[in-house]
Symmetry: C2
Subunit: 691 residues, 2 copies
């Protein structure tokens, strides 16, 4: 096509056009840009376009939705008080089509340059420097300021834009800029007023444990004296790295099985979808089809919240909304060949803006690769000894975000049995605060001398906009339930009931593994000819613990989406964010999925959205220090009577001829590991896996 | 060592010595052997030996436990009624050291030759042949007899040894011995009396659906007329196999990172353990240590039960105990290079016996390989842009069993963060019965015309014999629980309680994900110097649905182990089987984990055993037909304050130089997939993953 696809991200050029239009609309005003990204087409318009595309009837004359950019920015006029604005710009017509002066009740998401400003202000603050001086750092230690979102505003607070900083010290004697500073937490939190650009207060953190006061300056003089280094960069590891791990390579001699065309159209093993990158959600998938049938209209990570459970104020303000508070765009890792995945890899770039509004490429924010995940199906006929086995190949769309101390790895996995898995891996460095020597605290674990890792939760929300063979869909809650013995219907007591409940009104529901509860997204107008049941996909919500904070707490009020595992709502334009449009310094979730469900919309064979909430209650282990091994959590979207049989049945059961045998000799000696013979030498044919 | 290790499986020679000793002990008796396998040493003896071995103090003169073989067999004397016996033979002293005539209330596990006999008896039975004749099979179809364990004896039954057969027809016109017969189920079940070697009855199966009679001969004349073929062997697939899946090879140029020495001693990445194979449990792991510290004494799959939920008698007798009913030994797949795993693979053989008692090797019953499982940990210092990332390598011990229509793939996975994952994958062909055309049944799903896949459950039990830095261990139940807001202790409502409950008496307990319930196996005598908490490992029991059958049903009584997710019992010699020693035709679980827990033993810092029960409620989907894609379920055994930090911190964060870039061009053309450049050409160094 001559034109960009409606689901192609904004180019640098389009981004710069949006900039010009916004600047032209605001004469005599200083504009600080925050984000500029694709305003996705209205669903009705896009569906028209996609229907033509699916039907192969797209021409240069086909109607296309307008190319729109959504621009977030601060406008600073004579008053010197920044006004937060959002505009939608038609980058083809070069005109502003929507404009909003956002209520001062709402705070725009954070940007990296705000973080940088905060660090500068701290370092320049006499108040801050004086307090640091009091702390009498050990010789050779320097200060590190870790900017954090301010968290929920206490009612007492004015509605100002604040920043808070966790303060650490780093041992400059290592002469390594990546020496780990987290083992050296300092018991103060400076607060900055963004408008005044000044440190308005420095909060003192209690450093006690069980039975000690919850607040105030309680620490001993040498607050870092009992802290120990804990490095993770290889060159600083006392023992170095292990030397007995041998190379494992994923080799695809004929290239990958996927193709990427038309900028962002991915095709693989009957799957077809598009991927976009935006600064709030990271990688988002669109128009997901299998074998020419539509399954999902849109799939993305909508929000997450990370509330900390340390009861000592101000730690109730340690609650990040890592998507809504901002930063995903700038915090998304630029992935590297040979580090973040193996095999043959396709990378996708993103476009982000600086304060000046000019767009620039951020490379490799998304990677695409294939992986093997063991056997997918196998059967042996014991009469003939004939085994037929087929492996499980997966296509993985991955992006990784770094938020100060912490990392999240998100994978969308597609398999050959027409299933989709959304996986989150939590890693990075657990957040610690200073604790007096020898003390314990019931709200965390001492993972390093003087460093208390606070208990916390990670609550994710995946937004699933289904299109199960069309956009009119219905959610069925299905449970398997025990029955009484009954001489007529259950004479031997082995029968159980599979009970379907049709969801007709928007609602929040919970997991119930004890009932084998699952949710089927069905198209009631399409009946499977074999089973006679509506076609559908099913979700078994991971039955993870919900938010623990008290319902009246600010943490809970800000994250109403975390009240349920599953939300079923009616589609509404631009309703993408489970925790609400503005989460930063919020006092309550507004226009989030809780409000959406509360509309009590009719969701029976309507255009619906399904939201799945799951999480981790993370009471840190010593083994999580200093960088934690991944905690992996997954949710699956699986066909349930959507097809006529196992979609992976036609996957070849070929024998992999590059596999080798080893006798398993000792590892002694430089290469004493194995004698290897290849598949052929093993007397096997290359065709099938059959005895 | 000159002698076999006490944990080495019996050799063919040792197996044959056991045979001679048993035969010599029974003059004038016909002996039909069932199984002969290693009788593992008494724990006290083995611990003495292992302590010496761990300390490097083992010499040729060190005391060794006796080499014992446990032999199961039928003895047929003049009475012609087989007596079931078990003997333990010292194969070095060549003498019988234990002997037991097993009560006639107990039925020995099945053997393949019994299955073969059953099929012969069916085919020779005039009663059976006459009934088949009535069924008027379509032209060219032949009978297939699928032997099944008889299931639970109804009180009415005499205590005889029975066999039941599911009967199918196969289209011989395909001229392919592996043409799939399961789509053609016949509505009869012949019953054989094992002693009389005769078909004593043929049960009629109802073929109706909802609202139809639960029993009796209800099918139409042409019972297969509405059934359709459903092939899975590649050469019979109507559309053939897909051609767009490109080769993905796992290449280990320097060989694997593991070593296998001393027959069955596996060492990998600080892990050290032994693997044995036995005909009841398959692969069992012993003496699992990490970095010289003991973690588990023994790990195995203890039992599983698969109850079917079709309310129509005799389907309450469709309940397999796939380990206890027997057959694992003979049903374990002989794995094949390039089919069951990728990379460099070490295979282990087993030894099994035929009716004559002679031992023979069964090759490749266990495979050992390494695999990559994505990122294991990553952190980026946003100030410097320095990323350090380390991949997750896993060592996998795999075995696969085929039980008539169904397959289970079992993986024990070891990771570099000192975690162990036990994974079960369910695959194979779902069990179907004939259903009249156009009908539906609430106890199953019509997956193929005329073939109803019955709802069922798979309940597994993993037996974990811990040795957390010693054999005196304690289980702590830990929950994370909400708290009221309280001005003194929880002023902001964000605090939650982490509550520990010490388990002091043997008991069965359940999963409770809503409380983030986990179970820590701790050594209360060893305190982690950093956290000040006892060292331990934790298990978060998969919160899967428990057995649905009514407590008064025979299905439930036979599987009392399925009443709870976690059982904590005191170690008792030879107490290995959750469902009891004899499950075949059992009417109630006897000497299983339920009885073990009922002893109310003291389990506070004692030699304990932890049993984890999890399962799948499987209401079949169309997509499970004709061979189902794997349903994957995992349980994890993870360090919790056992170490001084992340055990994987010293894993090199090396860049993989064999990974390639692709531009992701179209797949059109023979090899148009990609242009690739290697890591070096990408301007990266081979040392580290750092920006």
């Amino acid at each position: 096509m001559a034109f960009p696809h409606p689901l192609s991200g904004l180019s640098v050029e389009e981004t710069n056009i949006a900039r010009e239009v916004v600047l032209a609309s605001l004469p005599n005003t200083v504009v600080d840009f925050r984000t500029t990204s694709l305003q996705e087409p209205a669903k009705a318009d896009l569906i028209k376009f996609l229907d033509l595309e699916h039907a192969g009837k797209l021409t240069a004359d086909s109607p296309r939705p307008p190319r729109l950019a959504r621009v977030h920015y601060d406008a600073v006029d004579g008053s010197k008080v920044p006004k937060y604005m959002e505009s939608v710009v038609d980058v083809e017509k070069k005109e502003r089509v929507e404009h909003e002066l956002v209520s001062t009740e709402s705070h725009p998401s954070l940007t990296v340059h705000e973080f940088e400003t905060f660090v500068e202000i701290c370092n320049a603050s006499p108040l801050f420097q004086a307090r640091i001086k009091d702390l009498k750092l050990p010789e050779g230690f320097e200060i590190v300021v870790e900017p954090w979102p301010y968290g929920g505003l206490d009612k007492a607070d004015e509605n100002r834009r604040y920043f808070q900083g966790l303060i650490f010290a780093v041992d400059a004697k290592t002469k390594n800029p990546d020496s780990n500073f987290y083992p050296f937490p300092l018991p103060i939190i400076p607060i900055m007023d963004w408008v005044k650009r000044t440190i308005i207060s420095i909060e003192e953190l209690a450093t006690g444990g069980n039975g000690d006061p919850l607040s105030g300056k309680t620490h001993a003089a040498g607050v870092l004296d009992h802290c120990h280094a804990a490095e993770y960069v290889p060159e600083l590891l006392p023992g170095g790295t292990r030397t007995d791990l041998r190379e494992l390579n994923v080799v695809q001699p004929n290239g990958p099985s996927f193709s990427v065309t038309d900028d962002n159209l991915i095709e693989w093993q009957k799957w077809r979808f598009r991927v976009t990158f935006n600064p709030r959600e990271g990688a988002v998938l669109h128009d997901i089809c299998y074998d020419g049938r539509s399954i999902l209209y849109r799939l993305g990570i909508s929000e997450m919240t990370v509330p900390y459970a340390d009861p000592r104020p101000p730690f109730h303000r340690k609650q990040a909304f890592d998507f809504g508070d901002g930063g995903i765009g700038n915090c998304t890792n630029n992935l590297e060949l040979g580090c973040d995945c193996l095999g043959v890899i396709k990378y996708f770039d993103g476009v982000i803006v600086g304060p000046d509004g000019y767009g620039h490429k951020t490379p490799n924010v998304i990677c695409l690769h294939e992986q093997d995940n063991g056997l997918n199906w196998k059967h042996t006929n014991w009469r003939t000894g004939r085994a037929v086995a087929s492996r499980r190949r997966e296509l993985v769309v991955q992006f990784i975000i770094t938020l100060a101390n912490y990392e999240y790895i998100f994978n969308y996995k597609f398999d050959q049995a027409a299933g989709i898995t959304v996986e989150a891996r939590a890693t990075g460095i657990v957040s610690v605060v200073n604790i007096d020597e020898g003390k314990k605290a019931s709200w965390g674990n001492v993972v390093s001398p003087g460093a208390l890792a606070q208990n916390h939760q990670h609550i994710f929300c995946v937004r699933i906009d289904p299109a199960i063979d069309g956009h009119a869909n219905t959610v069925i809650q299905q449970e398997s339930l025990p029955l009484l013995m009954d001489s007529r219907t259950n004479p031997k007591g082995n029968f159980y009931e599979v009970r379907d409940t049709t969801i007709t009104t928007s609602v929040g529901l919970d997991a119930a593994p004890q009932n084998n509860r699952c949710f089927k997204i069905q198209n009631l107008d399409k009946i499977n000819p074999i089973s006679g049941k509506p076609i559908g996909y099913k979700i078994v919500p991971p039955p993870t613990q919900k938010l623990l904070a008290h319902p009246n707490s600010i943490q809970a009020k800000r994250a109403l989406f975390a009240q349920h595992h599953m939300w079923i709502t009616k589609y509404k334009e631009n309703e993408l964010y489970a925790g609400g449009r503005y989460t930063l310094q919020s006092t309550i979730e507004k226009d989030g999925v809780h409000d959406a469900a509360a509309r009590n919309d009719d969701v029976l064979q309507e255009d619906i959205v399904v939201w799945n909430v799951f999480g981790l209650t993370h009471n840190p282990r010593i083994e999580d220090w200093p960088v934690m091994p991944v905690e992996i959590i997954q949710m699956n979207i699986t066909p349930a009577d959507f097809f006529a049989g196992n979609p992976a049945l036609d996957v070849p059961s070929s024998r992999n001829l590059s596999s080798k045998l080893t006798t398993g000799r000792s590892l002694n000696g430089t290469n004493g590991a194995t004698t290897t013979t290849n598949g052929d030498a093993n007397g096997t044919n290359g065709d099938n896996c059959c005895s």
